[in-house]
């Protein structure tokens, strides 16, 4: 029966882990916008080198007034 002590201990630890994850997600603001991330996840990441080369280009564009 002493195995039960250990099992209860582990189950509580696991549950505490989930509670911690929940509290962290609230703190992180995940419950403030539940819609945008669902769209954001569908955008493809672009190849890295491509965006870097564009970066130098975009440096030139820094004053939209003209």
């Amino acid at each position: 029966m002493s195995a039960i002590y250990i099992l209860i201990g582990f189950s509580l630890l696991a549950a505490l882990g989930f509670l911690g994850a929940f509290l962290w997600s609230v703190r992180n603001g995940q419950y403030e916008d539940s819609y945008t991330p669902s769209i954001r996840i569908l955008f493809d990441d672009e190849p890295l080198e491509n965006s870097e080369s564009k970066d130098t280009n975009s440096n030139k564009i820094n004053n939209p007034k003209q």
Partner: protein
């Protein structure tokens, strides 16, 4: 940015040869010719420039997520955002600034699709100074983090405006730091209560099944101790607001629902702790944590609101942050609140006059649609007094401020007492019930304590006393209102009637009087019946359409829209005469369209409801357009429905009595009031309330803001609920105005449902109490009764409201 060469030229391409039939950027029509660039067609150079900019920034993907989705790029004056360089204004707008990195949040009304999100979150590829940008699609906000060294706030706003996402910066955005942060504590409390509830359930389970005492006492101590440790944070943290609320109401001398709840919680926790520590029983910790968890779920359900809508807007959401003040030859941006009497200010097209002023320029056209709902602008001439809140239409205009912003005709409305305190005019339904409920429970508890005290002794009597408090804890009762009002709110939302919060349902079913505003509420702002007096030929109609579509004047827009089936012809020499009309040459003949005086016709009497626009061709007077405001469909039926439901229907309007006769067909003569100032409207509502009426006010403009605030339910009618509406308890889509009588009738049915579910939860309580006074309450009994009663009540409410909703026939205007 490198100088943008204008590669595309404005030209006409015949319809048959076009590769695209809509603007590649914004999907707009080619009204003004086509700009061709990189094998794509654009409706204006603005759209083309954005396309080029995005292309060069490697953001051409914008067009592949959703097609032709860009916002039409509005042109803005180059100094429009100069005031953002003012240190004081900048500090008021930003969220924080640290080590050269600044974070600011903008409200961007133009956000409408997934391409918008993608583009706005890739701003750093357009400008390296932008560190990060995050969009909240529902709230239409974008958070921008940028480096102070590389660009300033003005440049950030200009970048956004330049790509078609002009942020709305108003007086309300000022002092963001003072605004409360979103309350996350309910989530924390809910999470902790749910965690403890689930685990205590598991740990209590063995005891329930342990009929033959297989469990050794070691386990009992372990389970009891763990239960106590898990319940402690629920008692100390998750349920704290019930104690606070009960204590607050007691100190104010009344009893709310949180008092019997708090009594139950305290009884549950201390009785259970006593049993655990004295090893006399297993306690009720599972019932206790379940109770708190269910109550918090109810609170969360009730608290869900429409994030995308704003119910709190006052004049500050609409007034500018700064205006250009003229001192000598210099023009500088000053914060609006620093304006003093006698200051001279210059306003450009579409800018808003922040204070009551005297017009210094020769003439001006002022649009008061936000204030009164009247969509036809008013002409003013030099020396006229112009009230704050008007939007300038046309060219640069100068004013001299007569009254400071907070003291103006319109804005001083917000200094009224009605705006200082939240109006809770009557006790909420649940609190008036809980007064008797608490009294009843306490007397049952005390009586049974006394009975058992004389019968057996203190020990048993105390047990019975706490059992009564535990079993009587009104969990189902407390869940009734959140779920019935929450469900009603969802149902109303489907019919484009959006409530600020669930409590509004309760105010709505108490209503016995409905007060309407006229302009913009009963009349439809956009729609107008256009008729022409005189003879016109096809070519004239084409000429008139071609001329009027170039003008921003609302009457021009109505006429151009009315004539949209006619061809567009080439015009030259177009000129807009502020306050008078427009003119242009078509086929060598000079056309004039505008006021009688301008065109050369006999001046005619204009009423509030009709506007006349005269037309001349060369020297020949052709006739006049008569533009009449349309009432919304079915107004007559709506008002007779309201009357037959036993409601009193009033009309208050800021206009003159020109429409009196028309209105007496629907309203009783004694209940119609014209020439009402914003202040009068507020006082009228308060007068009705002082005679014991529960008033619903239905209005639309800022001049109704006082009345909307004072009324028990203020409903703002809007044809686009996401644009400006004054502060109110509810926002109603204009096309659903017809259904307002049905919404009120529905809410009255909800009252019956609420009363029935009160009855059900009382029955459960009575059964529980019968067991409790006889000392038959076991932890298992409590752990079963509580969820069963809550689930019955909640499902009864949900099913009843669904059923009611499916039976109600709503008129859907096409």
């Amino acid at each position: 940015m490198k100088k943008t060469e204008i590669k595309g030229i404005l030209r006409e391409i015949p319809e048959g040869q076009r590769k695209e039939d809509k603007c590649h950027h914004c999907g707009g029509e080619f009204d003004q010719g086509i700009v061709e660039y990189n094998e794509h067609y654009f409706c204006c150079t603005g759209c083309r420039t954005v396309f080029q900019l995005l292309n060069e920034g490697g953001l051409e993907k914008y067009y592949s997520i959703e097609e032709r989705t860009g916002n039409t790029v509005g042109r803005f004056h180059k100094d429009k955002y100069a005031y953002l360089e003012n240190e004081e204004i900048r500090d008021g707008l930003i969220d924080f600034s640290d080590g050269g990195v600044t974070r600011v949040q903008f409200y961007v009304p133009g956000i409408h699709c997934s391409s918008c999100i993608w583009l706005l979150e890739n701003l750093n590829r357009l400008h390296s100074g932008i560190h990060q940008s995050t969009v909240n699609f529902v709230k239409k906000t974008v958070d921008v983090v940028y480096k102070e060294d590389d660009l300033n706030l003005r440049e950030v706003v200009e970048l956004l405006a330049y790509i078609g996402y002009e942020p709305s910066v108003s007086l309300r955005d000022y002092n963001k730091k003072d605004r409360p942060h979103t309350n996350r504590s309910l989530y924390y409390k809910l999470g902790i209560a749910g965690f403890s509830f689930g685990n205590i359930m598991l740990l209590s389970f063995p005891e329930y099944l342990d009929e033959l005492s297989y469990l050794s006492s070691d386990f009992k101590i372990l389970f009891g101790g763990l239960n106590f440790l898990l319940a402690l944070p629920v008692f100390l943290y998750s349920s704290s607001e019930y104690f606070q609320s009960a204590w607050k109401s007691l100190r104010k001398g009344y009893v709310n629902i949180d008092l019997p709840i708090s009594l139950g919680i305290v009884a549950l926790f201390f009785r259970s702790s006593y049993e655990i520590f004295t090893l006399t029983g297993s306690g009720f910790m599972d019932s206790f944590t379940m109770l708190v968890f269910l109550l918090l779920v109810g609170k969360w359900y009730q608290g869900r609101t429409y994030q995308a809508l704003s119910f709190e807007r006052d004049y500050r959401s609409y007034f500018p942050l700064a205006v250009n003040r003229i001192r000598g030859e210099k023009e500088e941006a000053v914060p609006v609140r620093d304006l003093r009497n006698g200051d001279v200010i210059a306003l450009r097209n579409q800018e808003i006059l922040p204070g009551d002023s005297i017009l210094l320029s020769d003439s001006a056209v002022v649009d008061y649609s936000f204030v009164s709902g009247e969509s036809t602008p008013i002409s003013k001439t030099k020396g006229d007094k112009v009230f704050a809140g008007g939007r300038i239409v046309g060219e640069l205009t100068r004013f001299e401020i007569q009254k400071e912003v907070s003291q103006s005709y319109l804005t001083k409305l917000w200094n009224q007492a009605a705006f200082q305190n939240e109006n809770t005019r009557y006790e909420s339904m649940v609190n008036s019930v809980s007064k008797y409920f608490t009294l009843f429970i306490l007397s049952v508890a005390v009586l049974s304590f006394m009975f058992w005290y004389f019968e057996t002794g203190t020990g048993v009597a105390l047990n019975i006393f706490t059992s009564v408090l535990i079993i009587a804890c009104p969990c189902a009762l407390a869940l009734t209102l959140p779920f019935s009002f929450g469900n009603t709110m969802t149902f109303f939302g489907k019919h484009r009637f959006y409530l600020k919060n669930a409590q509004v349902v309760e105010s709505l079913f108490r209503a016995d009087t409905v007060v309407f505003d006229k302009t913009g509420t009963l009349t439809f702002p956009g729609d107008a019946a256009v008729s022409f007096r005189g003879e016109l030929e096809q070519e004239d109609l084409s000429a008139i359409r071609s001329i009027t579509r170039h003008s921003t004047h609302p009457l021009s827009k109505i006429i151009a829209d009315h004539l949209k089936q006619h061809n567009v012809v080439e015009i030259s020499g177009f000129r807009e005469y502020a306050g008078k009309g427009v003119g242009a040459t078509v086929n060598g003949i000079w056309f004039k369209i505008g006021s009688g005086e301008f065109v050369g016709a006999n001046p005619e009497v204009e009423t509030e409801e009709t506007s006349t626009v005269h037309v001349s061709r060369g020297d020949q007077y052709l006739g006049s357009f008569n533009i009449r405001k349309e009432y919304r469909k079915d107004i007559g039926n709506l008002i007779s429905d309201l009357k037959s439901d036993g409601l009193e229907v009033h009309l208050i309007s800021g206009d003159n009595a020109a429409e009196l006769e028309n209105m007496t067909r629907h309203f009783e003569r004694s209940l119609i009031h014209f020439d009402q100032k914003p202040q009068d409207k507020l006082e009228y509502i308060e007068k009705l309330q002082s005679t014991g009426k529960n008033v619903v006010m239905i209005g639309d403009g800022l001049n109704d803001a006082g009345a909307l605030k004072a009324a028990d339910v203020g409903i703002a009618v809007s044809d686009d609920v996401y644009t400006f509406t004054p502060a109110s308890d509810a926002i109603l889509d204009g096309s659903e105005l017809r259904n307002i009588s049905r919404f009120i009738a529905f809410s009255k049915n909800v009252r019956a449902i609420v009363q029935l579910s009160f009855l059900i939860s009382f029955l459960y309580n009575v059964v529980g109490l019968l067991f409790a006074v006889n000392g038959k309450v076991t932890p298992l009994f409590a752990a079963v009764l509580m969820p069963v009663s809550s689930i019955t009540v909640v499902s009864f409410i949900t099913i009843a409201i669904r059923f009611l909703a499916s039976r109600k026939k709503f008129d859907f205007s096409p």
